[in-house]
Subunit: 369 residues, 2 copies
């Protein structure tokens, strides 16, 4: 597969860490929320192994925040998600599918409750801020909505705990998963959450003070030497193995939360008010017509830049592959696919054509590991 | 400046033309509305000269459409823009700043009136569809909002007229600027507008039937041989010379239409109802504090990947450069900059540091040519 350069411009925003990661060997970018998101530091497979054994620092500033503050903040946040937030606690993160009135997914952010009347929506790649603004204006809600100056640094990998303890003490490791708190670094407070887009453990530092964040970035590399720290980024293979879904890749506005296996975040029987609730009740009653599943393919190379059809023995299209990569763990290509009814059963076999060659595969449960 | 690869995935959508332009030598991409937008076919300067002399075919499928259809469609479209559309006509395109309730720019699309109750918003790089959905839900408007399957092909350059005549007849060239109509190609109707993101003349073909669009793509190259047709893309230099503003580059949500020199599209004295109207009246009364202007810089190389400060003799920051490139016409770097009050006057001098070297420049009117 041929490579193409990314054209830089102000519209595709740099992050405070861009010059650092470019000195450290970033080789490819994606664009996420109109911002550069590092996509590779050389070999994807080397990064995969390193992430599973050591600790990496990620520039994930592209995970922008939508701040919603004011009297109606909680009402607006709840309106946008099918997850019941009525018992949510300050200092906790919540994975929340955001859907529209037709129950189509708009985003799948992590929502941080900062105060009863102040929330951050840490968004995947779509302009949730515009949806929130439109709703707030239309409903005449008493809120302020804006993108605060927050540029997340993720510290991921099994050695992230020891590294963070060296800087911030044991209070970091004592935090519960998806908890967050404020920690001081050289006199500046940083919001740090026990979270991140890998299943190898770690933290996300919500950097508001850029100067302090850059000093912290350098400190992480300095103190991280003994843990074999490296710069990194969300890893395609690791995140597929762990079934961390990617909005825009694995699911989009044409899919509803049930079709994406997000059932446990859909609270239809509570008395909360959210968009798409009636539509989702209908879906629950009638059943879904497609479902996101794992797939294993009998080959060891793939590059997915768009959906690839999956067919059965009768050459009928039974689904489409949406993400995929070679897994060193399975020694095969694994991926995430949307399978049509009734083909979304474990062990369902299919064929897939990759670069004009046909391979066999089978459906499996998520996550892989 | 070092180059980085673009990481492809389903989230960064390919277009129907992607495989063609890759065979034809595209070298760099930007990402626009979550879609690949070609950014270079080799030398920017060669493409610039070619565009000004011949004809180019552009894959600008990234200019996505937001279709708004239904009883309240016109009301919703008007609510989003400060341009008075009450006398708008079917079959015409309208450049319309879209602003929020604080008068901050959200997009600057071309709006096509297809019917009284059916509109396309041909958007720059932000998810206007989410803003429209939020507003429609909040206001309980009777509309359907979706992204139709439309992938624009632009035919740009002085020889575009003769090329289009060869395929569609003289009716194409007889259309007025920003008019549109339906034209048949091998039995399939295509909406074609006399428009495009260059000042060299041309058309935009709103391809809904992908199969026919691909055949048309090939036909344009076949019949275009005698006009020296080449694949191309919006050209940074040409568009700056022509002062075609780029949302996200030259302006963003922190700017209002007056600050961007879009005064003629702001209709405060009509009795139409749009968001941000009161705020804009306030701005008109108090005056603006910054303004987009042209700049000419005494150097012949620049690569703008983020805002670059402009300073005066007292080392005070008086503005920021937002786009720039070397103009073969002026034999200098030209650009678009946001200048603070009172420095947005023609001939205002400034200094700018590019790669640690300081250059002199001066402010000028837009457009350059």
């Amino acid at each position: 597969m041929k490579n193409y350069y990314v054209a830089k411009s102000r519209r595709v925003r740099s992050t405070p860490y861009t010059s650092r990661i470019e000195n450290q060997g970033v080789t490819a970018y994606s664009v996420y929320n109109h911002m550069l998101l590092p996509a590779a530091f050389g070999s994807l497979e080397d990064s995969y192994h390193h992430l599973k054994e050591h600790v990496q620092i990620w520039d994930v500033a592209g995970e922008r925040q939508v701040e919603i503050i004011g009297k109606d903040a909680a009402k607006l946040v709840q309106l946008m998600t099918c997850r019941d937030l009525s018992k949510s606690k300050i200092g906790r993160c919540y994975y929340c599918p955001i859907i529209d009135d037709k129950a189509g997914l708009i985003n799948d952010p992590v929502v941080l409750k900062l105060r009863e009347d102040r929330w951050w929506i840490s968004v995947a790649d779509s302009d949730v801020i515009l949806f929130a603004k439109g709703l707030a204006i239309g409903k005449n809600f008493d809120v302020k909505i804006f993108e605060p100056n927050v540029d997340i640094l993720a510290v991921q990998g099994p050695k992230s705990f020891r590294l963070m303890e060296k800087i911030f003490g044991t209070k970091t490791t004592e935090m519960k998963f998806f908890g967050f708190d404020y920690f001081e670094f050289e006199g500046v407070k940083h919001l740090i959450a026990k979270s991140g887009w890998s299943k190898q453990g770690g933290f996300e530092i919500y950097v508001e003070n850029t100067k302090s964040g850059l000093a912290l970035y350098d400190k992480l590399f300095e103190l991280g030497k003994e843990f074999n720290v490296k710069p990194g980024c969300p890893n395609l293979i690791e995140r597929i193995e762990s079934a961390l879904l990617s909005y825009g890749n694995d699911m989009d506005n044409n899919d509803n939360p049930f079709e994406c296996g997000l059932d446990k975040f859909v609270h239809l029987d509570s008395n909360i008010n959210f968009l798409g609730k009636e539509k989702l009740k209908e879906v629950r009653k009638k059943g879904i017509n497609k479902k996101l599943m794992g797939v294993i393919i009998d080959t060891n190379e793939i590059s997915v830049s768009k959906s690839i059809n999956l067919t059965n023995d009768e050459n009928l299209i039974i689904g489409e592959l949406r993400s995929g990569g070679y897994s060193p763990h399975f020694k095969k290509v694994i991926g995430i696919a949307m399978l049509n009814k009734p083909y979304y059963e474990v062990s369902q076999k299919f064929k897939i054509s990759i670069n004009d060659e046909v391979f066999e595969g089978k459906v499996c449960d998520l996550p892989f590991i």
